[in-house]
Symmetry: C2
Subunit: 363 residues, 2 copies
Amino acid sequence: MKVLVPKKSLADTLARVERIVPNRSSNPGLSLLRIDVTDGAMELSGSNMDVDIRAKLPADASGNGTYAVTAHVFGQVVRALPGDEVALDFGENEMQISSGSYTTKLQLMSPGSAPVLSFPSDHAGSIDGALLARALGAVRYAAAVADFQAVFRGVKIELRDSHTRAVATDGFRLAYYHLETSTGLDADVIVPARSVEELLRVVDDGEVKLQLDDGQLSVEHDGYALNLKLMDGTFPDYERVIPTAFPVSITLPAHRLSEAVARVALMADKSANNRVDLFVKDGQLQITAEGGFGRSLEAIDVMQEGTDSEIRLAYNSKYLVDALAPTAGDVRLRFSGSNSSPSVVNDLGDPGYLAMVVPLRTT
Amino acid sequence: MKVLVPKKSLADTLARVERIVPNRSSNPGLSLLRIDVTDGAMELSGSNMDVDIRAKLPADASGNGTYAVTAHVFGQVVRALPGDEVALDFGENEMQISSGSYTTKLQLMSPGSAPVLSFPSDHAGSIDGALLARALGAVRYAAAVADFQAVFRGVKIELRDSHTRAVATDGFRLAYYHLETSTGLDADVIVPARSVEELLRVVDDGEVKLQLDDGQLSVEHDGYALNLKLMDGTFPDYERVIPTAFPVSITLPAHRLSEAVARVALMADKSANNRVDLFVKDGQLQITAEGGFGRSLEAIDVMQEGTDSEIRLAYNSKYLVDALAPTAGDVRLRFSGSNSSPSVVNDLGDPGYLAMVVPLRTT
């Protein structure tokens, strides 16, 4: 069985699939890439147990065949090939890869050793890829890296009749992105944040098809199919903790605030939550920090609403910078008035985004 | 004491000095940067015991003062400053750093805690910076990363009446770069390869002044002064091991050989010296490798001298790729005919460079 395929498309596809297929695994079958050759196309598939991926690419092939190779070795060889075209010749035990003056014979493994994957052919839901990518990309940072409750390491996706919304929180901060559009599905799911990252690498402009089935969310887009294993557990009732009254709010350019916080925080004590203090009064925001090496101050003129009050709150500077990263243009920072109640960031140019940061307790 | 200095020049200078001053050290004085302010200039100096560095930059200053700060914190703050100009105001215990809307007060340390450094004012030797950088940059890779004999981790610099030459070897390969020019000094020195890297970051076009003194080589160039501590020990008599007779040699483009070796070596066994085999016969070079994942072959037409013989030798592919990295255009690969005697790489466009690689012993 011979297959001809352009080097660039094969290398690009392998690079995406390889991100998911583990290089080493206690289960050696997991490091295999399954190759299905059909008339005029090649399908590459693999899994890391949390995410299954299948990529389809056009190829000059006739006949049918199913093979398996070690994914990372195949990827390395293809990236290094000298020519623009790759010829794959599948034999009994070896796949010969030829390009220009170079030939490799790569050992074939039994396709039966590779994980058994199944991707749905029908999809009940769909959404615009750019919107989905924006929503997931804007909230992913707020998920916990490690936490006693697994759901904090996931991103909740509300697939409702009335809206679609992505939410992440680690208990100290929260981000959601709200879309006034329905996918056609009706369920709330929690997807591991790391799986969301892999999904973000595959999704861009164009329609994304969705299907919910048997503990997994399946996604199809632009030649790629993914199954994302869902997390069990109950996501916290986050809407309850978002304050509704804000005696003071300020408006200023997002990059101005983000850069100032990061700069001032250089003096903050890393072992004390990277604390920066915000002081708002009479249309001015003062950001200060103090630590073992010294102290710093930056003052910024802002548009202030609720000028009767002043605000003096401390934050983990990293949480503020993270919350501002998905924004552009002007942001509004709204203070709920108590130092135990969260502050809220809105992007004035993008009403779908909301971030919440809990101030540090100071005594 | 107030000093005004452009942010970019201060940030660039600090970045170079910071590479040498350790971020953390069991001797806390070593992480300090000494600042000497004089009329119209600022001098920054520090040391990691192997390399002392002093950088001079023009500054709007009047008066004299000597201060010390933690180098890395100062560098971080300066890089983050919002304005184009930096105002430094040295007080009793604090240095105030202001730029745009931002102000930091950084704690000053006692200059007496910083290492005592002295840089020569007179220099007996000199060399063109571009030549020195080329010579050192071309051989540095051949020094050992870790070895029982310390001299293998150094670069020998022959500063002779008749020539200047940089040499490095780890016992399995060797590189030298020969300049038909004298620095005016007359001595052979061994500089730690890591110090050579720091020197390479500072040296570029223009005159480099040299001075040998008390176990160190001092270098001055473009506002920077460095003292490089020399290594004790006897460098191996390397000229003795370079073969003089080569029954077969081949000529081909360097990048062609380097890419082919790297590509074929993807199939090589990493635990067996990344072995690739070279087979030369009738004007063709065949490169092959074999390992657990499969085998690979690349054939290249070459210009062959000594066509009566054929060559069949094995190499560590990494050593071949390293030896070719400093070359461009065509290279000549010369084989001494025995599989225990080294092969030699010459750059046809740059006669100063020579690399030697010992073949793998095969049975």
